[in-house]
Subunit: 108 residues, 2 copies
């Protein structure tokens, strides 16, 4: 079964987070994940790009420390590491997500 | 005299801001500019990169709508567009700058 690698909280950098969120597809994905507020089955969130492209985007988000992916049985599940990010960089991801909400959605 | 082009507030995008701030050199420059709190003479803020490289970074920041550059006589002056950014994306740039302050400085 596939094991996903995640940075520890100490390894997460501010510039890494900003870079990961600077892409419209990734930003909209994170916003959707935040709106569900619970762990989501991989592939459950609709995205406007090919599966292989989305795999790349998810890896960027995972390596930046924004999402966590795990497997359970045959399922792949993804969640937002919002509590950890809030602890390390208070307000950063939350204010970005609020700004997306205000703009309704980011043009892709 | 050189005229600098700047996006209007409507043209400024969230992803553009996040991208511009996702580079350590640019992020530290913006943080320094914020700490001075007033318009600064171009070149007054020390940076760890060559002048030509910094010109590129300043263009990225200007085109993203984060800084404003103008000339006065023979001087070139740069300021942060923080009030405008706060109006459009409340808390985003401020929380990022606070996060940099907490971390003392971003490794470059």
């Amino acid at each position: 079964m596939k094991q996903y690698q995640h940075p520890t909280i100490d390894q997460i950098t501010l510039t890494g987070i900003l870079h990961a969120l600077s892409d419209p597809v990734r930003l909209n994905f994170v916003r959707s994940l935040d709106q569900y507020a619970t762990e989501q089955r991989c592939g459950a969130i609709a995205t406007p790009v090919a599966k292989s492209t989305m795999s790349h985007h998810l890896r960027v988000l995972r390596e930046a420390g924004i999402i966590r992916t795990r497997t359970e049985g045959t399922q792949c599940l993804t969640s937002l590491r919002l509590d950890e990010l809030e602890t390390k960089f208070p307000g950063v991801v939350k204010s970005v997500l609020s700004a997306v909400d205000q703009a309704e959605s980011v043009p892709q």
